[in-house]
């Protein structure tokens, strides 16, 4: 276990390096630069701006400089928001995305897992068909359709909840539902498929044969292994949800990280884009590692090598 973790952690270093190098290269080969939007900037000013941010140096030197700063935990200054550093922007926007993402994820798990188990236990009966059709519907309706419709119903028609902004719990409910709906549907499908796969295996028959009541067979024995596909799915789902959903942020006017990320790529705000990519990749790699550990904990047949 210890050796496994150490080896995997060491392997992430070259991976993260490759990710940074690749995204640096991609960013820089795109035409345009961070100071394009301000057309009024006279050439001398632009030259001194470029010199200030070391954009006039060769690419390799710039990359080396960036990596050097990174070793000290410094993500560099933002090109677009020139008075702020990338560290400051992430420190401000990430907690918002984290809160919203955690709520959305909680909603999707609370709905998705019971729905999937229920569908598997009552498979090919009307209840199962109902749940599966509903979850397919959930996958098929994009969140930018669900969000505005929720706003129309709960904010403008019923007047129960505020339509946007961020801070109070009542402002978090609708965005969290919008964010969680699609994933709840997906988790329900994965959960059902996982349970169906398990339910016919020998150890379940053994559990039944020794006289365990059915709820214990399903809840204690089948669930442990049947949930594994959901666990696998949770790594990328959590990573993308934590870094922020641009669409939900835009609909509900939430100051999360997703908006900064999209704008940074559009504005050639190199350091900001690199910072968010690094954050996403780090979270994803960590979660993937965590998934492997959870796998071994849930399924005794899996060994960590």
């Amino acid at each position: 276990m210890g050796a496994f973790l150490l080896r995997r952690l060491l392997a992430t270093i070259p991976l993260l390096f490759a990710i940074l190098a690749l995204s640096f290269l991609f960013m820089r080969s795109a035409p345009g630069g961070p100071f394009d939007a301000e057309r009024s900037v006279p050439p001398q000013v632009e030259r001194s701006l470029r010199a200030k941010y070391h954009l006039d140096e060769p690419l390799t030197a710039q990359f080396a400089r960036y990596m050097g700063g990174l070793l000290h935990g410094d993500l560099g200054p933002s090109f677009k928001y020139q008075s702020r550093t990338v560290n400051e922007i992430i420190a401000q926007a990430f907690p918002v995305s984290l809160t919203l993402g955690a709520l959305g994820l909680a909603i999707s798990l609370v709905i998705g897992i019971p729905a999937g188990v229920f569908g598997a236990v009552y498979r090919n009966r009307p209840a199962d068909y109902g749940i599966m059709s509903l979850s397919l519907l959930g996958i098929s309706i994009p969140n930018f359709v669900i969000g505005p419709l929720l706003i129309i119903v709960f904010c403008f028609t019923l007047g129960w909840l505020p339509a946007g902004g961020w801070g109070s719990l009542s402002q978090m409910i609708l965005p969290a539902i919008t964010l969680g709906a699609l994933r709840a549907a997906y988790i329900a499908r994965l959960m059902r498929a996982g349970m169906l796969e398990v339910i016919h295996q020998d150890f379940i028959r053994t559990a039944r044969a020794k006289g365990l009541p059915e709820p214990a067979v399903i809840g204690k024995h089948a669930l442990r292994v049947g949930i594994l596909p959901v666990v696998t799915y949770l790594a990328p789902a959590t990573a993308s949800i934590l870094v922020g959903s641009v669409v939900v942020e835009r609909i509900f006017d939430i100051p999360g990280l997703g908006t900064f990320f999209v704008n940074s790529a559009l504005n050639r705000d190199y350091t900001m884009a690199m910072g968010t990519v690094l954050l996403y990749s780090t979270i994803l790699i960590t979660l993937n590692l965590l998934v492997d550990v959870v796998y071994a904990a849930l399924d005794p047949r899996v060994e960590l090598k």
Binding site: L137, S140, P142, V262
Partner: protein, 307 residues
């Protein structure tokens, strides 16, 4: 199909039985039979064909032109004259939804084709070559997997400009990763089998072995995954259009219409139809495609054959 010989007849000897040509059921015939049995898949297919026909027949189904403005009838609620209502500039939403569907469907199909070509080629070569080449190629796929998808598409859009054809290519170019993994995994399994050794011994070229003998064995998984890629790509197009990075006006797609609808909602006027109808059109199509994909998976899965 051949009739089974009647028991006790003159041909009913073991030798005769063995001489009898076996009426094998081909891949397509078997798949078609199982496809028809799957009610879910047939439903999805029928809905999809209906949607395609309706969007293609748009000029005959609606009296309005796609971009016909009517400033006297802005933001009208659904009525007999305008079944889906009208938008900010009085354009008939039913008409715009029909025409928008053409582009949404086209994006889905073309981008899937692009991802199919890249993913199958990449996966087939990696799986067939094996060894170091396989290792390097699949590590590259792993690497791309750990980058956020949006980052790629936005950069591709920034790189090439907001051109429609390039949007197709960009969406396809980020969707091939899973396809390449599937194809590579199957290739690895097939490569070790005797018939491949036999064909190699006969002197067939690598290209011929891959194209003629290996890929046809993978048609099932490829078709199924491609069917499930179409709705994923359509959703991404809608998503990009919503952010203003995808289809640009005056062209329209379901995603763009929904985005226009979402932005028109304010506390003063809630034109719910502007978001509901394009959303429903997109939702119904994705629903049908997901149904079709699920049904096809059951129909083409060799493990379920002849059941």
């Amino acid at each position: 199909m051949k009739e089974a010989p009647v028991l006790g007849s003159a041909t009913d000897t073991i030798e005769a039985r063995l001489m009898e040509p076996v009426a094998g059921v081909g891949f397509w015939k078997d798949a078609w039979r199982r496809f028809l049995k799957s009610r879910i898949a047939v439903t999805g297919g029928v809905i999809l064909i209906a949607v395609i026909f309706v969007t293609l027949l748009a000029p005959w189904l609606t009296p309005y032109a796609n971009d016909q403005q009517d400033l006297a009838h802005q933001l009208q609620a659904p009525s007999w004259q305008h079944p889906f209502g009208t938008d900010m500039t009085g354009r008939d939403l039913f008409t715009r939804t029909l025409y928008g569907g053409r582009l949404s469907l086209a994006v889905g199909l073309v981008a899937t084709l692009v991802s199919l070509v890249i993913g199958v080629t990449w996966g087939a070569v990696a799986g067939y070559k094996g060894g170091t080449a396989d290792n390097v190629m699949m590590r590259f796929v792993d690497l791309l997997y750990s980058l956020p998808f949006m980052f790629f598409v936005i950069l591709l859009v920034a790189y090439f400009g907001r051109h429609l054809v390039l949007l197709f290519l960009a969406l396809g170019a980020v969707q091939w990763l899973t396809m390449s993994r599937i194809v590579r995994g199957q290739m690895l399994q097939l490569r070790g089998q005797e018939f491949v050794t036999a064909i190699t011994a006969l002197g067939a070229s690598h290209r011929r072995i891959i194209l003629r003998h290996l890929l046809p064995n993978l048609l099932g998984p490829i078709i199924v995954y491609a069917t499930l890629t179409v709705p994923a790509v359509m959703l991404e197009e809608a998503f990009l259009s919503f952010l203003g990075l995808g289809v640009q006006p005056p062209n329209s797609s379901w995603g763009l219409l929904a985005a226009e609808g979402a932005s028109s909602i304010t506390a003063i006027h809630t034109a719910w139809w502007l978001i509901l109808f394009p959303g429903l059109a997109l939702g119904a199509t994705l629903f049908a495609l997901n149904f079709l994909g699920d049904g096809l998976r059951d129909a083409l899965d060799p493990r379920l054959k002849n059941r």
